[in-house]
Amino acid sequence: MASIEKRKIIISPVTRIEGHARITIQLDDTGAVDEALFHVNEFRGFEKFCEGRMYTEMPTITPRICGICPISHSIASVKACEMIQGIKPAYTGNLLRRLIQLGQNISSHALSFFHLSSPDFLLGYDSDPASRNIIGIANQFPDIALRGIRLRKFGQEISERITGKKIHIMGIAPGGMAMPLTAENRKALLDWIPEAKETVRIGIDIIKNFHRENEAMVKSFATSPTLYLGMIGENGEQELYEGNLRFIDADGTILQDQLDPKRYLEFIAERSVNWSYLKYPYYKPYGFDKGFYRVGPLARLNVASKMKTPEAQEEFLLFRAIGNGKPVHGTFYFHYARLIEALCSVEEAEMLLNNPAIISTDIQTHGRWNYNEGIGCAEAPRGTLFHHYITDDTGKLKNVNLLIATGQNNPSMNRSITEVAKQYIHDGTKVSEGMLNRVESTIRCYDPCLSCSTHAIGQMPMEIDIVDRDGKLIDHVIR
Protein backbone atom coordinates (compact mmCIF):
# COMPACT_ATOMS: atom_id res chain seq x y z
CA MET A 1 0.00 0.00 0.00
CA ALA A 2 2.64 2.46 1.07
CA SER A 3 4.46 2.20 -2.23
CA ILE A 4 1.47 3.36 -4.27
CA GLU A 5 1.96 6.94 -5.36
CA LYS A 6 -0.60 9.25 -3.91
CA ARG A 7 -2.93 11.31 -6.04
CA LYS A 8 -3.05 15.02 -5.52
CA ILE A 9 -5.48 17.91 -5.64
CA ILE A 10 -3.96 21.37 -5.86
CA ILE A 11 -5.92 24.42 -4.73
CA SER A 12 -4.08 27.50 -5.81
CA PRO A 13 -5.05 31.11 -5.41
CA VAL A 14 -4.60 32.98 -8.65
CA THR A 15 -4.88 36.50 -7.34
CA ARG A 16 -1.64 37.50 -5.81
CA ILE A 17 1.15 39.95 -6.22
CA GLU A 18 3.11 38.87 -3.18
CA GLY A 19 3.05 36.24 -0.49
CA HIS A 20 0.70 33.77 -2.02
CA ALA A 21 -0.34 30.35 -0.84
CA ARG A 22 -1.85 27.26 -2.36
CA ILE A 23 -3.04 23.92 -1.11
CA THR A 24 -2.36 20.38 -2.23
CA ILE A 25 -4.71 17.70 -0.98
CA GLN A 26 -3.08 14.31 -0.97
CA LEU A 27 -5.37 11.37 -1.54
CA ASP A 28 -4.71 7.78 -0.76
CA ASP A 29 -5.35 5.25 -3.50
CA THR A 30 -8.99 4.79 -2.48
CA GLY A 31 -9.58 8.46 -3.22
CA ALA A 32 -9.95 9.40 0.44
CA VAL A 33 -8.06 12.37 1.82
CA ASP A 34 -4.74 11.53 3.40
CA GLU A 35 -3.64 15.04 4.31
CA ALA A 36 -3.64 18.62 3.10
CA LEU A 37 -0.43 20.51 2.49
CA PHE A 38 -0.75 24.23 2.98
CA HIS A 39 1.94 25.86 0.84
CA VAL A 40 3.18 29.26 1.92
CA ASN A 41 4.90 30.64 -1.11
CA GLU A 42 6.96 33.51 0.13
CA PHE A 43 10.58 33.62 1.15
CA ARG A 44 12.87 36.59 1.43
CA GLY A 45 15.75 35.43 3.61
CA PHE A 46 15.96 38.09 6.34
CA GLU A 47 17.88 35.71 8.61
CA LYS A 48 20.76 35.62 6.14
CA PHE A 49 20.91 39.06 4.62
CA CYS A 50 20.86 40.81 7.98
CA GLU A 51 24.13 39.08 8.89
CA GLY A 52 27.06 41.48 8.92
CA ARG A 53 24.89 44.55 9.49
CA MET A 54 24.93 46.51 12.74
CA TYR A 55 22.30 45.33 15.24
CA THR A 56 20.99 48.91 15.48
CA GLU A 57 19.78 48.72 11.87
CA MET A 58 17.35 45.94 12.72
CA PRO A 59 14.48 48.10 14.03
CA THR A 60 14.42 49.75 10.58
CA ILE A 61 14.98 46.68 8.39
CA THR A 62 12.73 44.10 10.02
CA PRO A 63 9.41 46.02 9.89
CA ARG A 64 9.64 45.50 6.11
CA ILE A 65 8.71 41.89 6.77
CA CYS A 66 5.06 42.96 6.84
CA GLY A 67 2.95 46.01 5.96
CA ILE A 68 0.18 45.15 8.42
CA CYS A 69 2.18 44.52 11.57
CA PRO A 70 5.47 46.40 11.07
CA ILE A 71 5.27 47.92 14.54
CA SER A 72 5.44 44.55 16.28
CA HIS A 73 8.69 43.92 14.44
CA SER A 74 10.07 47.33 15.46
CA ILE A 75 9.16 46.61 19.07
CA ALA A 76 10.55 43.07 19.24
CA SER A 77 13.64 44.42 17.53
CA VAL A 78 14.29 47.39 19.87
CA LYS A 79 13.80 45.11 22.85
CA ALA A 80 16.48 42.79 21.49
CA CYS A 81 18.71 45.85 20.95
CA GLU A 82 18.08 47.03 24.51
CA MET A 83 19.16 43.62 25.81
CA ILE A 84 22.35 43.93 23.75
CA GLN A 85 22.99 47.38 25.21
CA GLY A 86 21.83 46.42 28.70
CA ILE A 87 19.53 49.43 29.00
CA LYS A 88 15.91 50.12 29.88
CA PRO A 89 13.75 52.45 27.80
CA ALA A 90 12.85 55.91 29.14
CA TYR A 91 9.51 56.01 30.94
CA THR A 92 7.54 58.10 28.43
CA GLY A 93 9.29 56.54 25.48
CA ASN A 94 8.05 53.20 26.73
CA LEU A 95 4.49 54.52 27.11
CA LEU A 96 4.56 55.90 23.58
CA ARG A 97 5.73 52.59 22.15
CA ARG A 98 2.92 50.85 23.99
CA LEU A 99 0.45 53.39 22.56
CA ILE A 100 1.73 52.93 19.01
CA GLN A 101 1.45 49.17 19.36
CA LEU A 102 -2.15 49.50 20.56
CA GLY A 103 -2.81 51.63 17.48
CA GLN A 104 -1.47 48.90 15.24
CA ASN A 105 -3.58 46.30 17.01
CA ILE A 106 -6.69 48.44 16.48
CA SER A 107 -6.01 49.06 12.79
CA SER A 108 -5.04 45.46 12.05
CA HIS A 109 -8.08 44.04 13.85
CA ALA A 110 -10.33 46.60 12.12
CA LEU A 111 -8.93 45.53 8.76
CA SER A 112 -9.43 41.86 9.55
CA PHE A 113 -12.98 42.32 10.75
CA PHE A 114 -14.54 45.17 8.79
CA HIS A 115 -12.66 45.06 5.49
CA LEU A 116 -12.08 41.34 5.17
CA SER A 117 -14.60 39.38 7.21
CA SER A 118 -17.71 41.51 7.72
CA PRO A 119 -18.84 41.04 4.09
CA ASP A 120 -19.31 37.32 4.89
CA PHE A 121 -21.37 38.12 7.97
CA LEU A 122 -23.45 41.00 6.59
CA LEU A 123 -23.87 40.07 2.93
CA GLY A 124 -23.67 36.31 3.41
CA TYR A 125 -21.18 33.65 2.37
CA ASP A 126 -23.29 32.92 -0.70
CA SER A 127 -23.72 36.49 -1.89
CA ASP A 128 -22.28 37.64 -5.22
CA PRO A 129 -18.47 37.43 -4.91
CA ALA A 130 -18.07 40.53 -7.11
CA SER A 131 -19.56 42.71 -4.39
CA ARG A 132 -18.65 40.63 -1.35
CA ASN A 133 -16.08 43.17 -0.21
CA ILE A 134 -15.76 46.47 1.61
CA ILE A 135 -17.12 48.33 -1.42
CA GLY A 136 -20.17 46.06 -1.38
CA ILE A 137 -20.60 46.85 2.31
CA ALA A 138 -20.30 50.56 1.46
CA ASN A 139 -23.21 50.20 -0.96
CA GLN A 140 -25.52 48.30 1.38
CA PHE A 141 -24.37 49.42 4.82
CA PRO A 142 -22.63 52.74 4.19
CA ASP A 143 -22.41 53.65 7.87
CA ILE A 144 -20.70 50.39 8.83
CA ALA A 145 -18.20 50.55 5.96
CA LEU A 146 -17.27 54.13 6.76
CA ARG A 147 -16.93 53.33 10.44
CA GLY A 148 -14.72 50.32 9.71
CA ILE A 149 -12.49 52.38 7.45
CA ARG A 150 -12.30 55.11 10.09
CA LEU A 151 -11.50 52.65 12.90
CA ARG A 152 -8.54 51.41 10.90
CA LYS A 153 -7.60 55.02 10.20
CA PHE A 154 -7.68 55.83 13.93
CA GLY A 155 -5.17 53.07 14.65
CA GLN A 156 -2.90 54.22 11.83
CA GLU A 157 -3.20 57.81 12.95
CA ILE A 158 -1.73 57.04 16.36
CA SER A 159 1.53 56.20 14.56
CA GLU A 160 1.26 59.16 12.26
CA ARG A 161 0.61 61.70 14.98
CA ILE A 162 3.66 60.55 16.93
CA THR A 163 6.11 59.77 14.14
CA GLY A 164 4.73 61.41 11.00
CA LYS A 165 4.26 58.12 9.16
CA LYS A 166 1.61 55.39 9.19
CA ILE A 167 3.48 52.35 7.89
CA HIS A 168 7.16 51.48 8.47
CA ILE A 169 7.51 54.32 10.91
CA MET A 170 10.86 55.62 12.09
CA GLY A 171 11.30 56.68 15.68
CA ILE A 172 10.90 53.48 17.70
CA ALA A 173 14.48 53.32 18.85
CA PRO A 174 16.58 51.42 21.41
CA GLY A 175 16.08 53.32 24.67
CA GLY A 176 12.57 54.53 23.84
CA MET A 177 11.30 56.88 21.15
CA ALA A 178 13.03 59.43 18.97
CA MET A 179 10.09 61.84 18.99
CA PRO A 180 7.47 62.85 21.57
CA LEU A 181 3.71 63.25 21.37
CA THR A 182 2.62 66.89 21.28
CA ALA A 183 -0.26 68.17 23.40
CA GLU A 184 -2.16 69.04 20.24
CA ASN A 185 -1.82 65.54 18.79
CA ARG A 186 -2.72 64.00 22.12
CA LYS A 187 -5.98 65.94 22.10
CA ALA A 188 -6.74 64.98 18.51
CA LEU A 189 -6.31 61.30 19.39
CA LEU A 190 -8.41 61.57 22.54
CA ASP A 191 -11.21 63.09 20.47
CA TRP A 192 -11.32 59.90 18.38
CA ILE A 193 -11.85 57.56 21.34
CA PRO A 194 -15.67 57.65 21.65
CA GLU A 195 -16.19 56.98 17.95
CA ALA A 196 -13.60 54.17 17.95
CA LYS A 197 -15.25 52.52 20.93
CA GLU A 198 -18.69 52.75 19.35
CA THR A 199 -17.42 51.17 16.15
CA VAL A 200 -15.85 48.23 17.96
CA ARG A 201 -19.17 47.81 19.81
CA ILE A 202 -20.99 47.67 16.47
CA GLY A 203 -18.55 45.00 15.33
CA ILE A 204 -19.22 43.01 18.50
CA ASP A 205 -22.98 43.21 17.83
CA ILE A 206 -22.46 41.98 14.27
CA ILE A 207 -20.45 38.94 15.37
CA LYS A 208 -22.82 38.11 18.23
CA ASN A 209 -25.80 38.22 15.88
CA PHE A 210 -23.95 35.97 13.50
CA HIS A 211 -23.18 33.54 16.36
CA ARG A 212 -26.86 33.44 17.32
CA GLU A 213 -28.11 32.88 13.79
CA ASN A 214 -25.49 30.28 12.87
CA GLU A 215 -25.00 28.53 16.17
CA ALA A 216 -24.48 25.02 14.84
CA MET A 217 -21.87 26.08 12.28
CA VAL A 218 -19.99 28.38 14.65
CA LYS A 219 -19.82 25.74 17.38
CA SER A 220 -18.66 22.95 15.08
CA PHE A 221 -16.20 24.97 12.99
CA ALA A 222 -12.64 23.56 13.16
CA THR A 223 -12.76 22.74 16.86
CA SER A 224 -9.72 20.50 17.28
CA PRO A 225 -8.06 21.23 20.60
CA THR A 226 -4.54 22.63 20.70
CA LEU A 227 -2.18 24.17 23.20
CA TYR A 228 -2.09 27.96 23.40
CA LEU A 229 0.66 30.52 23.89
CA GLY A 230 0.26 34.17 24.77
CA MET A 231 1.80 37.03 26.67
CA ILE A 232 0.45 37.96 30.10
CA GLY A 233 1.09 40.74 32.57
CA GLU A 234 2.16 40.37 36.20
CA ASN A 235 -1.31 39.36 37.34
CA GLY A 236 -2.13 37.08 34.45
CA GLU A 237 -3.90 39.80 32.49
CA GLN A 238 -3.90 39.84 28.67
CA GLU A 239 -0.86 41.78 27.48
CA LEU A 240 0.59 42.78 24.11
CA TYR A 241 3.64 44.87 24.85
CA GLU A 242 5.65 43.90 27.87
CA GLY A 243 5.22 40.75 29.88
CA ASN A 244 6.01 37.10 30.25
CA LEU A 245 4.61 34.08 28.46
CA ARG A 246 2.05 31.49 29.44
CA PHE A 247 1.50 28.13 27.75
CA ILE A 248 -1.70 26.22 28.51
CA ASP A 249 -2.76 22.78 27.37
CA ALA A 250 -6.01 21.87 25.64
CA ASP A 251 -7.83 21.52 28.98
CA GLY A 252 -6.65 24.89 30.18
CA THR A 253 -4.01 23.58 32.57
CA ILE A 254 -1.09 25.97 32.82
CA LEU A 255 2.04 24.32 31.44
CA GLN A 256 4.40 27.28 31.81
CA ASP A 257 3.65 30.48 33.62
CA GLN A 258 5.46 33.82 33.77
CA LEU A 259 8.02 32.38 31.41
CA ASP A 260 10.67 34.92 30.45
CA PRO A 261 10.56 35.20 26.61
CA LYS A 262 14.35 35.09 26.64
CA ARG A 263 14.01 31.36 27.38
CA TYR A 264 11.93 30.68 24.24
CA LEU A 265 14.45 28.20 22.82
CA GLU A 266 13.89 25.89 25.78
CA PHE A 267 10.21 25.57 24.94
CA ILE A 268 9.79 26.17 21.22
CA ALA A 269 11.44 24.34 18.33
CA GLU A 270 10.64 24.52 14.64
CA ARG A 271 10.83 22.05 11.81
CA SER A 272 11.34 22.92 8.17
CA VAL A 273 9.03 20.99 5.86
CA ASN A 274 9.56 20.47 2.17
CA TRP A 275 6.10 21.75 1.13
CA SER A 276 6.17 25.25 2.60
CA TYR A 277 8.45 28.25 2.96
CA LEU A 278 6.86 28.74 6.40
CA LYS A 279 8.33 26.49 9.11
CA TYR A 280 6.36 24.40 11.62
CA PRO A 281 7.00 25.49 15.23
CA TYR A 282 5.94 23.29 18.13
CA TYR A 283 5.98 23.14 21.94
CA LYS A 284 9.27 21.39 22.50
CA PRO A 285 8.43 19.31 25.58
CA TYR A 286 5.55 17.63 23.68
CA GLY A 287 7.45 17.06 20.43
CA PHE A 288 6.50 17.74 16.81
CA ASP A 289 3.46 15.45 16.65
CA LYS A 290 1.75 16.53 19.86
CA GLY A 291 3.13 20.02 20.37
CA PHE A 292 0.68 22.01 18.19
CA TYR A 293 -0.01 25.34 19.76
CA ARG A 294 -1.84 28.41 18.60
CA VAL A 295 -1.15 32.12 19.05
CA GLY A 296 -3.09 35.30 18.32
CA PRO A 297 -6.32 36.76 19.73
CA LEU A 298 -8.01 33.42 20.47
CA ALA A 299 -4.88 32.13 22.20
CA ARG A 300 -4.30 35.32 24.16
CA LEU A 301 -7.84 35.28 25.52
CA ASN A 302 -7.56 31.58 26.32
CA VAL A 303 -4.34 31.96 28.30
CA ALA A 304 -5.22 35.21 30.09
CA SER A 305 -6.88 35.28 33.51
CA LYS A 306 -8.51 38.62 32.79
CA MET A 307 -8.49 41.76 30.67
CA LYS A 308 -7.06 44.96 32.04
CA THR A 309 -9.91 47.30 31.07
CA PRO A 310 -13.52 47.25 32.33
CA GLU A 311 -15.57 46.97 29.12
CA ALA A 312 -13.26 44.36 27.61
CA GLN A 313 -13.39 42.42 30.89
CA GLU A 314 -17.20 42.17 30.64
CA GLU A 315 -16.93 40.74 27.13
CA PHE A 316 -14.06 38.49 28.21
CA LEU A 317 -16.31 36.81 30.79
CA LEU A 318 -18.91 36.14 28.07
CA PHE A 319 -16.20 34.76 25.83
CA ARG A 320 -14.86 32.45 28.51
CA ALA A 321 -18.39 31.22 29.26
CA ILE A 322 -18.43 29.73 25.75
CA GLY A 323 -15.78 27.25 26.87
CA ASN A 324 -17.39 26.61 30.28
CA GLY A 325 -14.13 27.43 31.97
CA LYS A 326 -12.06 25.47 29.45
CA PRO A 327 -10.20 27.01 26.51
CA VAL A 328 -12.39 28.00 23.56
CA HIS A 329 -11.10 25.82 20.71
CA GLY A 330 -13.60 26.77 17.98
CA THR A 331 -11.57 28.52 15.31
CA PHE A 332 -14.52 30.72 14.40
CA TYR A 333 -14.23 32.46 17.78
CA PHE A 334 -11.03 34.12 16.57
CA HIS A 335 -13.29 36.89 15.23
CA TYR A 336 -14.97 37.53 18.58
CA ALA A 337 -11.64 37.38 20.41
CA ARG A 338 -10.18 39.88 17.95
CA LEU A 339 -12.98 42.37 18.63
CA ILE A 340 -12.66 42.01 22.41
CA GLU A 341 -8.97 42.80 22.00
CA ALA A 342 -9.79 45.79 19.81
CA LEU A 343 -12.10 47.07 22.55
CA CYS A 344 -9.40 46.57 25.15
CA SER A 345 -6.86 48.35 22.94
CA VAL A 346 -9.14 51.39 22.50
CA GLU A 347 -9.77 51.55 26.25
CA GLU A 348 -6.09 51.15 27.04
CA ALA A 349 -5.15 53.82 24.48
CA GLU A 350 -7.59 56.15 26.25
CA MET A 351 -5.94 55.40 29.61
CA LEU A 352 -2.49 56.09 28.20
CA LEU A 353 -3.56 59.30 26.49
CA ASN A 354 -5.07 60.50 29.76
CA ASN A 355 -1.79 59.90 31.55
CA PRO A 356 -0.10 63.33 31.89
CA ALA A 357 3.31 61.68 31.38
CA ILE A 358 2.41 60.79 27.78
CA ILE A 359 3.49 64.21 26.51
CA SER A 360 6.70 64.36 28.51
CA THR A 361 9.91 64.62 26.52
CA ASP A 362 11.63 62.00 28.70
CA ILE A 363 11.54 59.69 25.74
CA GLN A 364 14.93 58.13 25.16
CA THR A 365 17.86 56.74 27.07
CA HIS A 366 21.09 55.94 25.29
CA GLY A 367 23.38 52.99 25.41
CA ARG A 368 26.12 51.31 23.49
CA TRP A 369 26.98 47.78 22.56
CA ASN A 370 27.57 45.69 25.70
CA TYR A 371 26.44 42.11 25.18
CA ASN A 372 26.62 39.62 22.33
CA GLU A 373 23.05 38.49 22.49
CA GLY A 374 19.60 40.07 22.48
CA ILE A 375 16.11 38.54 22.47
CA GLY A 376 12.99 40.66 22.04
CA CYS A 377 9.37 39.56 22.16
CA ALA A 378 6.05 41.30 21.48
CA GLU A 379 2.51 40.27 20.67
CA ALA A 380 1.77 41.08 17.03
CA PRO A 381 -1.94 41.26 16.11
CA ARG A 382 -1.55 37.67 14.86
CA GLY A 383 0.42 36.33 17.79
CA THR A 384 3.68 36.12 19.69
CA LEU A 385 6.74 37.32 17.84
CA PHE A 386 10.40 36.71 18.72
CA HIS A 387 13.55 38.41 17.44
CA HIS A 388 16.88 36.91 18.47
CA TYR A 389 20.22 38.48 17.53
CA ILE A 390 23.79 37.38 18.18
CA THR A 391 26.57 39.87 17.44
CA ASP A 392 30.34 39.91 17.30
CA ASP A 393 32.29 42.19 19.63
CA THR A 394 31.77 45.22 17.43
CA GLY A 395 27.98 44.87 17.29
CA LYS A 396 27.86 43.29 13.83
CA LEU A 397 25.21 40.61 13.52
CA LYS A 398 26.51 37.05 13.32
CA ASN A 399 23.21 35.30 13.69
CA VAL A 400 19.57 36.33 13.36
CA ASN A 401 16.55 34.21 14.25
CA LEU A 402 12.98 35.38 13.70
CA LEU A 403 9.99 33.43 14.96
CA ILE A 404 6.97 34.98 13.31
CA ALA A 405 3.40 34.92 14.64
CA THR A 406 1.70 33.40 11.61
CA GLY A 407 4.31 30.63 11.53
CA GLN A 408 3.16 29.39 14.91
CA ASN A 409 -0.41 29.00 13.67
CA ASN A 410 0.84 27.26 10.54
CA PRO A 411 0.59 23.65 11.84
CA SER A 412 -2.95 24.30 13.09
CA MET A 413 -4.02 26.01 9.87
CA ASN A 414 -2.69 23.01 8.01
CA ARG A 415 -4.62 20.65 10.26
CA SER A 416 -7.84 22.66 10.05
CA ILE A 417 -7.64 22.55 6.25
CA THR A 418 -7.08 18.78 6.38
CA GLU A 419 -10.20 18.43 8.56
CA VAL A 420 -12.29 20.42 6.10
CA ALA A 421 -10.98 18.40 3.18
CA LYS A 422 -11.76 15.09 4.91
CA GLN A 423 -15.27 16.29 5.59
CA TYR A 424 -15.93 17.28 1.98
CA ILE A 425 -13.91 14.96 -0.26
CA HIS A 426 -14.85 11.30 -0.36
CA ASP A 427 -14.56 9.96 -3.88
CA GLY A 428 -11.48 12.04 -4.56
CA THR A 429 -12.54 13.37 -7.92
CA LYS A 430 -14.79 16.32 -7.16
CA VAL A 431 -14.17 19.41 -5.13
CA SER A 432 -17.38 21.20 -4.19
CA GLU A 433 -17.92 24.94 -3.89
CA GLY A 434 -18.90 24.29 -0.28
CA MET A 435 -15.48 22.94 0.44
CA LEU A 436 -13.72 25.89 -1.16
CA ASN A 437 -15.77 28.26 0.98
CA ARG A 438 -14.89 26.34 4.12
CA VAL A 439 -11.17 26.30 3.32
CA GLU A 440 -11.31 30.01 2.65
CA SER A 441 -13.15 30.89 5.84
CA THR A 442 -10.84 28.64 7.86
CA ILE A 443 -7.78 30.50 6.62
CA ARG A 444 -9.52 33.82 7.15
CA CYS A 445 -10.21 33.03 10.83
CA TYR A 446 -6.48 32.90 11.50
CA ASP A 447 -5.99 36.23 9.71
CA PRO A 448 -2.55 35.07 8.57
CA CYS A 449 -0.13 37.79 7.55
CA LEU A 450 0.07 36.31 4.10
CA SER A 451 -3.34 37.92 3.96
CA CYS A 452 -2.26 40.48 1.39
CA SER A 453 -2.78 37.74 -1.15
CA THR A 454 -4.52 34.61 0.07
CA HIS A 455 -6.98 36.60 2.02
CA ALA A 456 -8.65 38.81 -0.52
CA ILE A 457 -11.62 40.89 0.44
CA GLY A 458 -14.43 39.06 -1.23
CA GLN A 459 -14.08 35.54 -2.47
CA MET A 460 -10.70 33.91 -2.16
CA PRO A 461 -9.57 32.90 -5.62
CA MET A 462 -8.60 29.28 -5.94
CA GLU A 463 -7.45 26.92 -8.61
CA ILE A 464 -7.81 23.21 -8.19
CA ASP A 465 -6.02 20.55 -10.13
CA ILE A 466 -7.00 16.98 -9.54
CA VAL A 467 -4.21 14.71 -10.57
CA ASP A 468 -4.33 10.95 -10.74
CA ARG A 469 -1.59 8.72 -9.42
CA ASP A 470 0.42 9.03 -12.63
CA GLY A 471 0.34 12.80 -12.41
CA LYS A 472 -2.25 13.10 -15.17
CA LEU A 473 -4.73 15.94 -14.81
CA ILE A 474 -8.24 14.58 -14.48
CA ASP A 475 -10.10 17.66 -13.24
CA HIS A 476 -9.38 21.36 -13.04
CA VAL A 477 -11.48 23.92 -11.17
CA ILE A 478 -10.92 27.67 -11.12
CA ARG A 479 -12.93 30.22 -9.27
Binding site: T15, F49, R132, I149, Y264, S272, M460
Partner: protein
Protein backbone atom coordinates in the same frame (compact mmCIF):
# COMPACT_ATOMS: atom_id res chain seq x y z
CA UNK B 1 -1.49 48.10 2.34
CA UNK B 2 -0.63 51.73 1.82
CA UNK B 3 -3.46 51.98 -0.69
CA UNK B 4 -5.85 51.43 2.24
CA UNK B 5 -4.35 54.47 3.95
CA UNK B 6 -6.25 56.65 1.50
CA UNK B 7 -9.07 55.74 3.93
CA UNK B 8 -12.49 57.14 3.00
CA UNK B 9 -11.16 58.36 -0.35
CA UNK B 10 -11.30 54.79 -1.65
CA UNK B 11 -15.04 55.36 -1.93
CA UNK B 12 -14.32 58.34 -4.25
CA UNK B 13 -11.94 56.25 -6.28
CA UNK B 14 -14.46 53.51 -7.01
CA UNK B 15 -16.72 56.13 -8.56
CA UNK B 16 -14.04 56.71 -11.21
CA UNK B 17 -12.88 53.16 -11.78
CA UNK B 18 -13.75 49.54 -11.12
CA UNK B 19 -11.15 47.75 -9.05
CA UNK B 20 -11.17 44.44 -10.88
CA UNK B 21 -8.37 42.51 -9.23
CA UNK B 22 -6.50 43.39 -6.08
CA UNK B 23 -5.85 42.05 -2.60
CA UNK B 24 -9.01 43.84 -1.53
CA UNK B 25 -11.35 42.60 -4.22
CA UNK B 26 -11.68 39.26 -5.83
CA UNK B 27 -10.93 38.79 -9.47
CA UNK B 28 -10.58 35.70 -11.56
CA UNK B 29 -8.45 36.02 -14.69
CA UNK B 30 -6.83 39.41 -15.13
CA UNK B 31 -8.90 41.03 -17.88
CA UNK B 32 -7.60 43.82 -20.09
CA UNK B 33 -7.30 46.81 -17.80
CA UNK B 34 -6.37 50.48 -17.97
CA UNK B 35 -4.04 50.71 -14.99
CA UNK B 36 -2.19 48.09 -12.94
CA UNK B 37 -0.31 49.01 -9.77
CA UNK B 38 2.37 46.43 -9.09
CA UNK B 39 4.04 46.04 -5.71
CA UNK B 40 7.13 43.99 -4.97
CA UNK B 41 10.24 42.88 -6.82
CA UNK B 42 10.58 39.99 -9.21
CA UNK B 43 12.08 37.19 -7.12
CA UNK B 44 10.95 33.96 -8.77
CA UNK B 45 9.84 32.14 -11.89
CA UNK B 46 6.22 32.70 -10.94
CA UNK B 47 6.63 36.45 -10.49
CA UNK B 48 8.24 36.63 -13.91
CA UNK B 49 5.33 34.87 -15.62
CA UNK B 50 2.89 36.99 -13.66
CA UNK B 51 4.49 40.34 -14.49
CA UNK B 52 4.74 39.49 -18.19
CA UNK B 53 1.06 38.60 -18.17
CA UNK B 54 0.20 41.81 -16.34
CA UNK B 55 2.15 43.85 -18.92
CA UNK B 56 0.23 42.20 -21.75
CA UNK B 57 -3.14 42.93 -20.16
CA UNK B 58 -2.51 46.52 -18.98
CA UNK B 59 -2.42 49.82 -20.84
CA UNK B 60 -0.41 51.40 -18.03
CA UNK B 61 1.84 49.66 -15.50
CA UNK B 62 2.76 51.61 -12.38
CA UNK B 63 5.57 50.30 -10.15
CA UNK B 64 4.32 50.96 -6.63
CA UNK B 65 6.80 51.17 -3.78
CA UNK B 66 10.55 50.86 -3.36
CA UNK B 67 10.59 47.04 -3.81
CA UNK B 68 9.00 47.36 -7.25
CA UNK B 69 11.08 50.38 -8.22
CA UNK B 70 14.54 49.32 -6.98
CA UNK B 71 14.13 46.06 -4.95
CA UNK B 72 14.85 47.74 -1.60
CA UNK B 73 14.97 45.29 1.34
CA UNK B 74 13.84 42.41 -0.88
CA UNK B 75 17.03 42.84 -2.91
CA UNK B 76 19.32 42.62 0.11
CA UNK B 77 19.64 38.88 -0.43
CA UNK B 78 21.40 39.59 -3.76
CA UNK B 79 24.67 39.90 -1.83
CA UNK B 80 24.50 36.24 -0.85
CA UNK B 81 24.35 32.89 -2.57
CA UNK B 82 20.75 31.67 -2.67
CA UNK B 83 21.75 28.32 -1.18
CA UNK B 84 23.30 30.06 1.84
CA UNK B 85 20.15 32.10 2.31
CA UNK B 86 18.07 28.91 2.32
CA UNK B 87 20.42 27.03 4.62
CA UNK B 88 20.44 29.85 7.17
CA UNK B 89 16.66 29.75 7.46
CA UNK B 90 15.84 26.08 6.99
CA UNK B 91 18.87 24.14 8.23
CA UNK B 92 20.97 26.25 10.59
CA UNK B 93 18.46 28.52 12.40
CA UNK B 94 18.98 28.11 16.15
CA UNK B 95 15.34 27.23 16.80
CA UNK B 96 15.32 24.48 14.15
CA UNK B 97 15.29 20.86 15.20
CA UNK B 98 17.59 18.57 13.29
CA UNK B 99 14.89 17.12 11.04
CA UNK B 100 14.65 20.16 8.80
CA UNK B 101 14.50 20.10 5.01
CA UNK B 102 14.95 22.96 2.59
CA UNK B 103 11.52 23.39 0.93
CA UNK B 104 11.49 21.94 -2.59
CA UNK B 105 7.89 20.87 -3.22
CA UNK B 106 6.83 21.25 -6.88
CA UNK B 107 3.90 23.48 -5.83
CA UNK B 108 6.31 26.10 -4.46
CA UNK B 109 7.66 28.90 -6.60
CA UNK B 110 11.33 28.65 -7.66
CA UNK B 111 13.38 31.56 -6.42
CA UNK B 112 15.70 33.27 -8.88
CA UNK B 113 19.33 33.78 -7.87
CA UNK B 114 18.90 37.53 -7.99
CA UNK B 115 16.00 39.78 -7.13
CA UNK B 116 15.32 42.44 -9.78
CA UNK B 117 13.03 45.47 -9.97
CA UNK B 118 10.10 45.45 -12.39
CA UNK B 119 11.75 47.54 -15.08
CA UNK B 120 14.40 44.88 -15.64
CA UNK B 121 11.67 42.54 -16.83
CA UNK B 122 9.03 44.76 -18.40
CA UNK B 123 8.53 48.31 -19.56
CA UNK B 124 7.21 50.34 -16.63
CA UNK B 125 5.17 53.46 -17.44
CA UNK B 126 5.25 55.24 -14.11
CA UNK B 127 6.91 54.80 -10.71
CA UNK B 128 5.73 55.72 -7.23
CA UNK B 129 8.66 55.24 -4.83
CA UNK B 130 8.47 55.03 -1.04
CA UNK B 131 8.43 52.33 1.62
CA UNK B 132 5.57 52.55 1.69
CA UNK B 133 4.60 55.23 -0.84
CA UNK B 134 2.53 57.92 0.79
CA UNK B 135 -1.21 57.32 0.54
CA UNK B 136 -1.71 60.90 -0.60
CA UNK B 137 0.61 60.35 -3.55
CA UNK B 138 -1.11 57.08 -4.50
CA UNK B 139 -4.43 58.87 -4.45
CA UNK B 140 -3.03 61.82 -6.40
CA UNK B 141 -1.50 59.62 -9.11
CA UNK B 142 -4.64 57.54 -9.54
CA UNK B 143 -6.89 60.61 -9.63
CA UNK B 144 -4.69 62.24 -12.27
CA UNK B 145 -4.62 59.19 -14.51
CA UNK B 146 -8.35 58.60 -14.08
CA UNK B 147 -8.99 62.19 -15.14
CA UNK B 148 -6.74 61.76 -18.22
CA UNK B 149 -3.89 63.83 -16.86
CA UNK B 150 -0.25 62.81 -16.41
CA UNK B 151 0.76 63.07 -12.74
CA UNK B 152 3.70 65.30 -11.86
CA UNK B 153 5.87 64.07 -8.99
CA UNK B 154 8.54 66.76 -9.32
CA UNK B 155 7.31 68.38 -6.12
CA UNK B 156 9.65 67.06 -3.39
CA UNK B 157 6.77 66.46 -1.02
CA UNK B 158 5.44 63.83 -3.37
CA UNK B 159 8.72 62.01 -3.95
CA UNK B 160 9.74 59.85 -1.04
CA UNK B 161 12.25 57.06 -0.78
CA UNK B 162 12.28 54.79 2.25
Amino acid sequence: MSLLDIDERILDLVKLADIVKCPIVDGKELPEVDITLVEGSVTSDEHEREILHIRKQSKLVVALGDCAVMTNVTGMRNYFQLQDVFDTAYVNAISNDKEGKVPDHPALLRLNDKVVPLQEVIKVDFVIPGCPPSADVIFYVLSEFLNDRVPDLSDVKKLRYG
